[in-house]
Symmetry: C2
């Protein structure tokens, strides 16, 4: 199917966004915001720190709205890590061995296991890493895409430094 | 100095509070609140989970005010742990060896070291453990005292389950 013009334009803008974001990626981010979101009913809460380069941008309405969107995303989608590099090696090994067990259980030919395992691992990353999750307010883009867009639009490097999510009675 | 009557009365009440609290200490706390405090300026934020026995108490104004006070306390006083049992053994060993080094540096006789080290460790607990900190709104009592008072007054067991404190740019 041929892509409609508007979709192409968005894609082009997004690619430009990424290019603009990459140019700024080396810059130090020492300012930013600590923000929180408490879901109505007080059973789920999120604390987040997002960094930018200047206090000026930290006080910018669009940056603050971005941080709020991230906190909402975390409350709703329950990521465990910011990025896949944050996952301890032991966790990935455990996931791999679970997937291998599933392959065996389902009688998959052993030659096919590595590809199946890698596929399942990719899915695990997409579910558990905030930057790889689909943005709940626009599932066509990932949180990494959203971050790139904001960097390109606001014109400063930004980084999601850390978050904590509490759910009453859960780990 | 002789204690004034009002102080004695408070002490008595506090002892009663503790007795009442201890009677309830075995009860399971599965309900409660997840709450947050963001300090004006968005550079310090706290996320906290406090448990109680019933959803009824979780919705109680006094319980909610207590949780809010705890979040404020954490923002202001920067505890690292809820209780001393939460401190990893390695951390305590490191503190001990720092204190021993200080004793040596100051030329204290070795026979006196154990007492000095234990004294400094007690101080470390009082600063780093939320339950042992002096309550910022009433430094005559500790957070553990405050918790006991709330348990006695509200009549349910309660537990400070966990907290996270973010300060912009700090660990």
């Amino acid at each position: 199917m041929k892509k409609p013009a508007v979709e192409k334009a968005i894609e082009h803008l997004r690619q430009r966004g990424l290019a603009a974001a990459q140019k700024k990626a080396g810059r130090e981010t020492k300012e930013g915001l600590v923000s929180a979101y408490i879901h109505p009913g007080n059973r789920i809460g999120v604390l987040i720190e997002v960094n930018c380069e200047t206090d000026f941008v930290a006080r910018h309405e669009e940056f603050q709205a971005f941080v709020k969107d991230l906190a909402l995303q975390i409350a709703a989608s329950h990521p465990l890590y910011v990025r896949r590099e944050d996952i301890q090696a032991g966790v990935i090994e455990k996931e791999r061995s679970i997937y291998a067990g599933q392959c065996k259980e389902m009688g998959k030919p052993e030659a096919a296991w590595p590809k199946i395992i890698e596929g399942k691992l990719e899915k695990y990353y997409q579910e558990s890493c905030l930057l790889e999750q689909a943005f709940i307010k626009d599932p066509a883009i990932s949180i990494q895409d959203l971050l790139n867009q904001k960097i390109a639009k606001i014109g400063e490097n930004m980084a999601i430094r850390r978050f904590t999510r509490y759910q009453l009675g859960l780990e």
